[in-house]
C-alpha cells in the first residue's frame, strides 16, 4: 500500500492563480481530510469528507473548495491564490466505523508559496 499520497510536493503560485492539490489513498478509508499548517502552529482543518459525494467545512474553509467523487481521491482547489494561503497542506484519511473515532493517516504534505 502506498498509503496517502499528495502531489505536488512543492509549488509556487502568483497571486490570483488557481491550482488543485491532489490527494489519494489506497486503504479504502471512508473519511478524508485537508489541513493546513502555518509555521509554529498546529494543523487547521480546511474541509473533510465522510464518504464519496459528501463534504463539509472545517475551521478555515474560505478560499478553498473540495470534491469527493470517488473513495480514493480528495482534491483541494484554490481558486484565487492569496499570500495568506502560503502554508504546508496535509491530506489525511481514516477508516472510521459509525460513531467511533479512529487514527488518521497523513500524507507527506504539499508546501505552497503564494507570491
Amino acid at each position: 500500500n502506498a498509503g496517502v499520497t499528495q502531489t505536488p510536493k512543492f509549488r509556487i503560485l502568483k497571486i490570483g492563480q488557481s491550482m488543485t492539490l491532489q490527494c489519494a489513498q489506497d486503504m479504502n478509508h471512508n473519511y478524508m481530510y485537508w489541513y493546513r499548517q502555518d509555521p509554529g502552529m498546529g494543523l487547521k482543518l480546511i474541509y473533510y469528507s465522510v464518504g464519496a459525494g459528501i463534504t463539509d467545512k472545517g475551521e478555515v474553509p474560505n478560499g478553498y473548495n473540495v470534491s469527493r467523487s470517488t473513495t480514493e481521491d480528495f482534491p483541494l482547489r484554490l481558486e484565487l491564490a492569496a499570500p495568506s494561503q502560503t502554508s504546508v497542506y496535509f491530506c489525511a484519511s481514516s477508516y472510521t466505523p459509525p460513531g467511533q473515532v479512529a487514527e488518521q493517516f497523513f500524507g507527506p504534505g504539499t508546501r505552497l508559496t503564494v507570491l
Partner: protein
C-alpha cells in the same frame, strides 16, 4: 469557541532527561484526545485517550487523560535525540465526522 492549548511551546532537554508535555482543552461534545508526533514531514499517531485516568503506554512514552480537569499529559522518559520532534495533541468530537481540533504543538529538542 473550541480551544486546544499546549504547553510549553518549545522545550530543550539533554539525553536521558524526562519530559512532560501538557495539553488542555475547552470544547463541547468532547469524545477523545489524540497525540501525534511530527518529525520533518507528516504527523504520525501515538495515542488515543477516551477514558479518564487510564494510562496508555508505548515504550518510553506514556499518556493520561483527566476529563474532569480537561487536560492530558504526555511523558517521555530517558529521552533520546530521536525524540526531537513537534508533539501535537488533538481533540475529537461526537457527531462531527471525525474532525480534529489541534493544539499549536510543543517543539521538543533533545541535545546529546
Amino acid at each position: 469557541e473550541d480551544k486546544v492549548v499546549q504547553s510549553p511551546l518549545s522545550l530543550v532537554v539533554h539525553e536521558g532527561d524526562t519530559v512532560t508535555l501538557n495539553c488542555s482543552y475547552e470544547v463541547t461534545n468532547f469524545r477523545s484526545l489524540l497525540w501525534y508526533k511530527q518529525e520533518k514531514k507528516a504527523p504520525t499517531f501515538l495515542f488515543m485517550l477516551t477514558s479518564s485516568g487510564i494510562e496508555k503506554k508505548s515504550g518510553r512514552l506514556s499518556s493520561i487523560l483527566d476529563k474532569k480537569e480537561l487536560f492530558s499529559i504526555l511523558n517521555i522518559t530517558a529521552t533520546q535525540t530521536g525524540d526531537s520532534a513537534i508533539y501535537l495533541c488533538a481533540v475529537d468530537f461526537y457527531n462531527q465526522g471525525g474532525k480534529l481540533i489541534f493544539g499549536q504543538g510543543t517543539e521538543l529538542s533533545v541535545k546529546p
